[in-house]
Symmetry: C2
Subunit: 646 residues, 2 copies
């Protein structure tokens, strides 16, 4: 709790996420065939169950607190941070609630929407804070219903700051966090996991430490599942508090809130808000170095590590909750030094799983969105269920339209000037475009000395496995095979392989080689001649922006291109080349030329006309080499094509 | 192929609606995940479509006619013949209808039940004959409804022989085959494919050849889909007939009925019934050798081959229909000499697919019934649909009881005396039983000089792939690991592999090693200790007759043990080890000890008590080695077990 809200009412909360898993999924076996939906047993448990299991397994965990950003740009950055910090394997994250900031609205910076993004797009188990004072029952219920609809399953119930000095308790109103707990349980039964705040030194407004403990007990007995504490500076503060809680009959998990000191000013502000006293021994260290941010942060990390070690060593603490202040470095450093940061979290599936409960049975996706998973989730958010692990009716998958939300998200990732530096202030012909693609693959600076770190078709940096294909990709991009997606063939690597592995241990993963690119009609004409030689081996789909579609695939049948075989399980095939969704992807892939690239330039400018020309005349091609045990033949196909052209 | 596809019109396609035969048929892919229900495009096409496709592809075919047997024993033999002759790849078989023999009843020898067996248990496309004279509309409709219910989709509409000499046409009754054709079309719309009979020499009762052609045209115009002709002796008879048909506007397929002469008496009888004249040149050959069956058959084969060649060479004939007289040798010989017999028909799945329309999406089965597929089909015949390629709810698959029909089928396969010779007139202890199992595996004669060619758990002869494991199986059976099912591990053999291949060309098939056996509790105790060492690698289920169940498998999850990867397809996993159905199989497997074996002996006899003891005290064990790319470890598991016991 380090932001302004918490001061009064709460501390903050806790959360955790298993790096992208979570949300449940048990019954999927009933409507699943070759797939084992119960990939990760955690996924269909409640947060409180996950905590219990981790504790029983003696497996320490951590969670991360964030506050909603103030601007759309900051929101985009925060989402990237969720992805990066999610990779370390938090049990959950939580998002604070600021009544003044319209926290339940649909603005991209609201608490509700940030929590929604964390759950649905980043796949993080998430707790949404909610305060209750000065609000009507209807408001609160409305927020909770919305949270439930969005797939949120955990609430941190707080009182919040009374508006104005003259605040008085309202009869039948929400005067304390316990009223909110009771309201949630009465209106939503056991749907939400509920967290409440604990104050190791007692709430500053409480009559006494003992009185505050009694309030805490009331909150727990009203239905809270676990407690996250306000920050504190000495481990013995927490350990005493915990014993005192237990002594009066509080048996639920109590998670210490850890605040790694990151700077002089943020500490001062926090202390002021939370009305805490900084111990003299800490002040003594900090005052002399107050203008040296790095030194303070190093000290803060040191201090946090040593406090966390003491807490963990006590045997009473199983999880640690971090007040990140939306920053990455200090918390990540503490976690790494504690050995809690999962360097290589096992992926349950080769793509990031969404944490929305209704998506918990999802285990098949088209390969096309591999580099734009958030777009895929966004465009399929209206799917009410996943009876076959994907959609109910493959002939009518009902993809949502490409709308502003997602384009906003991508657009704001890099400012226009950055993009122009990467993709060219001025294009001189199609070859300038070839060069951009080539630089993205190689990582070499372009002719103006700028590295191309993103492309319109890629949310994420180049996948590690793409490096396996780097040399060939460079060669073909240089000649106008503009690749946007690819995977090497894999013939039975262990599921624990650091690059291509996924799924439970002891299994084997497989892939068919895949290559997707834009190319001119001249290249496509030659390619089609060449493909005749590979008719039985290579499946292709070739389509232009108008929808002219050339394929040798059996009518509408998906081709499985990634699958895994695991001990005691059915076969999992999480990625397919699906002819139906390819036509939806085609619209998106072509639109990105214009939306993301052409529009960087003036209308009627030569640069814009070059991109427009490509958009209007190039084809989008995908190729699958079905003979996964043999050497990938797709490079030979491309070589043959160029040979034919010469 | 270039198709202009509108993305929005994902209207999938090809609905080759089988008129009712399976409502939602095309959509099978919709409720399929890793499986390609459209394995064999033929399977959800109508017979008339199959004919058309074969003709378009220039692919000659044949079909086989049988009559219902007179006794239950003969029925069992005929079913075995269906399996053997089905292996040659007929496009369909047909079963004749004998009004005097109660053809629509539930007797195991009725036309209806024989056709039912051919479709459902032997997986053969089947035409049921039906005659109409002297029958009420209600009777006929009842027969047709029953046929539809049983999964029959094709009817040969015939008039039948009037009862008695004094037959007169009834007003509004069924006087001619055309009335039956009209009735079927009016009552069942386009559900059935309808075949009618053609007479190359004219029907013997017709006023003239021309008048008969007119009747035939009426039948076709009333809704018949194709014509099968009465037998004839000279190719020119058929070719003239066909031209005459075409001349009056009959355009549907006309299939010549071929009768290989197999003996003097059968020829005489047939000629008498059909009122045909045997050409003098044939009589001249046959009369002198009329007592030499082999010589007549050789001549008949010769004659049929030469006539068939002439017909095929004419370019007008695409399929040949054989009157088998329920015999195998002559027809098979003719077909082999014509090159129409498929020596190695490609298996669409590793097990025999049922031809019932509602089972056409079935593509997953438990491995347990691998040697008793007819029992599995029988016990699951009530399943109304296969939403996941098997059953709707894996936790409650609702297997039918083991009932008389199936036990009858197996029991009557070999008479009691035969079984006693194979399995022992008198058992002296459990070791005598070990010996029976061992002899079955090795093929060596037992101590009394008899080969053990079948076992209670095996419908079919030992599978070819079992030979790959023969030496190890012999060794373990000798020591009391009484194996009833096994498969070797396979790591990516071509789908065209003659032993383990299945599915479309160009694919790869895989298996996990599997071993299933009965063993004493002493062996099982040691085995369980050994299995601890293999905990992560080997999944096991161990159960006794009382249902005491020991397993390390994840709760209720099936383990895929056979799967295939094919060009342009989703993954197919046709065989699983399923913990739920294993408990149903357990009941069947234990019951077979008593029903098939113990009951051969007198009550209270020592032999019977030995089998009863095994039934009461042994365990049924199955083991899966999940590490399919490594050498099968199950033999090591068994060796370790015996070592521990010593």
């Amino acid at each position: 709790m380090v932001n302004e809200t918490q001061q009064s009412c709460s501390a903050s909360s806790s959360s955790r996420s298993d790096g992208g898993s979570s949300s449940g999924s048990e019954s999927s076996k009933d409507n699943s065939r070759c797939s084992t939906p119960v990939l990760d047993a955690d996924r269909h448990e409640r947060l409180r169950e996950k905590m219990r299991r981790r504790q029983e397994a003696g497996d320490k965990w951590f969670s991360l607190e964030f506050f909603p950003p103030r601007t759309a740009n900051a929101a985009v950055n925060l989402i990237s941070r969720f992805d990066r910090m999610g990779a370390g394997g938090p049990l959950f994250i939580d998002v604070t609630w600021h009544p003044a900031g319209d926290p339940g609205s649909d603005k991209e910076t609201s608490s509700m929407i940030i929590a929604n993004t964390a759950v649905n797009y980043c796949g993080l188990e998430t707790i949404l804070h909610m305060t209750c004072c000065n609000q009507t029952k209807d408001d609160i219920t409305g927020h909770l219903q919305k949270a439930k609809r969005l797939g949120l399953k955990n609430i941190m119930a707080l009182r919040g700051d009374p508006a104005g000095e003259e605040w008085e308790e309202e009869v039948d109103g929400f005067n304390h966090a316990v009223d909110l707990v009771k309201h949630i349980r009465s209106e939503f039964d056991d749907y939400f996991d509920i967290c409440v705040a604990g104050y190791p030194k007692g709430h500053p407004e409480a009559e006494s430490y003992e009185a505050d403990l009694k309030h805490l007990k009331e909150k727990v007995f009203a239905g809270a599942d676990f407690i996250i504490t306000q920050l504190f500076f000495r481990p013995e503060t927490f350990l005493k508090f915990m014993k005192d809680c237990q002594a009066i009959g509080i048996t639920c998990p109590i998670i210490p809130g850890i605040f790694p000191i990151q700077g002089y000013h943020s500490l001062r502000q926090l202390v002021k808000l939370s009305k805490l006293e900084v111990p003299q021994e800490i002040k003594d260290v900090i005052e002399p170095i107050k203008d040296n941010d790095a030194a303070i942060r190093n000290y803060g990390v040191e201090l946090a590590v040593s406090m966390c070690r003491e807490l963990l060593d006590s045997g009473m603490v199983h999880g640690l909750h971090f007040y990140t202040l939306n920053r990455e470095v200090a918390t990540t450093e503490v976690l790494k030094r504690l050995g809690l940061w999962k360097e290589d979290p096992r992926r349950p599936l080769p793509w990031a799983v969404s944490a929305h409960p209704k998506r918990r049975v999802e285990d098949v996706r088209p390969i096309f969105w591999a580099s734009r998973p958030k777009s895929y989730i966004y465009r399929t958010q209206e799917w009410d269920d996943f009876p076959n692990g994907r959609w109910g009716n493959s002939s009518s998958p009902a993809f949502g339209e490409l709308k502003d939300y997602y384009l906003f998200y991508l657009k704001s990732k890099s400012p226009r000037e950055e993009l122009l530096k990467m993709w060219g202030e001025e294009l001189t012909g199609e070859e300038s475009v070839f060069e951009v693609f080539t630089c993205y693959i190689t990582g070499e600076p372009n002719r103006n000395g700028h590295r191309v770190t993103c492309m319109p078709w890629n949310d994420d940096p180049l996948a590690t496995e793409t490096n396996l294909l780097k040399d060939q990709l460079e060669k073909v991009n240089r000649r106008g095979i503009l690749t946007i997606n690819s995977q090497p063939n894999i013939n039975g690597k262990p599921s624990t392989d650091p690059i291509v592995g996924w799924g439970p241990s002891g299994g084997y993963v497989f892939q068919k080689a895949y290559l997707e690119f834009f190319a001119s009609s001249e290249i496509v004409t030659a390619l089609l001649k060449v493909l005749k030689k590979y008719e039985l081996r290579v499946n292709y789909h070739i389509v232009n922006v108008k929808g002219q579609n050339i394929t040798n695939a059996p009518d509408l049948q998906p081709n499985a291109v990634t699958w895994g075989i695991f001990p005691g399980r059915e076969i999992i095939q999480p990625t397919v080349v699906d002819p139906v969704s390819f036509l939806y992807w085609k619209d998106e892939a072509f639109a990105l030329w214009i939306e993301q690239w052409a529009k960087l330039y003036e209308e009627e400018s030569p640069s814009r006309m070059i991109i427009q020309y490509i958009h209007d005349n190039y084809y989008l091609v995908n190729l699958v080499d079905n003979d996964f045990p043999l050497e990938n033949c797709l490079w030979q196909v491309v070589d043959d094509t160029f040979e034919l052209l010469n």
